[in-house]
Symmetry: C2
Amino acid sequence: MKPVSRTRELEAQLADTEKQLRLLQKISRFMVREMSLSDALQRIVSLVVEFTNADSCLLYLLQDKELVLCSSNNPQPETIGKVKLALGEGLTGWVARERRLLSISREAYLDPRFKHFSDLPEDTYEAFLSAPIIIRNHVAGVINVQHRDPHAHSGGDMELLTTIGEMAGSLTALATLDSATLARADLLDLVMQPAPRG
Amino acid sequence: MKPVSRTRELEAQLADTEKQLRLLQKISRFMVREMSLSDALQRIVSLVVEFTNADSCLLYLLQDKELVLCSSNNPQPETIGKVKLALGEGLTGWVARERRLLSISREAYLDPRFKHFSDLPEDTYEAFLSAPIIIRNHVAGVINVQHRDPHAHSGGDMELLTTIGEMAGSLTALATLDSATLARADLLDLVMQPAPRG
């Protein structure tokens, strides 16, 4: 390989890796800020779209055994809290039930697991990357990244979305913690006892 | 600059950035695993030492207005839970009180804010990098990275430790959340109300 093309390739890889690092650092900051859960999740989906050049990012949380659409970078107010999927239903439900990352680079709508929603424009998108949202080792939701046109997901993209699913889960769990409980907590006692959390 | 040296420089930068990304991804994984808080913090300090080539990493948590040593990569069992600092006492106390990152590249022990502990070998180390541990926008502890020999900390090192301080805080806060409270939590209700957390 010629030095110049090797240099360009390295520059592109470095820019991409730095972008991924900054994305995780920004999400980490949301975890320690005082903001509503809806604001924090909304900012995560916006950042994911910005950093991955995706056309859509949808985030579902699990409630009463259903996946409920909680955040979208293209918010249609009538869909938030309304679009619901059973565990195992559609690509999103499959990711939640199997607790596995799913990557489809083209024609996601032809996948036998696909479920059509007439009210979501994302239904016609080609590429689909989806990771479970995890709270304390259990599936608590799903985050989907979609591209209108065919798009190959790299191993780095997949690892990044896996981590974002973990961070979104941690952020959601933190939002259930009230300040009084937190203020009362004896951190030293907690750290000195080697018993598993929970 | 000659193409070859530019290539080497880029390769080194890329390797370093990838290492930082992997470190945050590993810490994120601890947040969603079932493990004791002491185990999780212990793994964080071990990873920080491994990824930064430091000689020491010490983690203090704030309890009753004192900073208590909770985790160390060189665990001397008699120091954990025993070494204590007031807010503002020593370099560590300064970081907690000021809620600021502190970077000293050489002769940290000559800093007027330094406090000597006869029982900590880290007292003789040259370089000191320290960031506050944050829980919900408040200081909850401090994490210190020390090198025996003089060591210049890059902007990237500083940003990385800032993020690790946030992630360690989030992990600690999550450990105070009991499973029953979490299981009862209505995530959908939480996400649909735009009130600030807390």
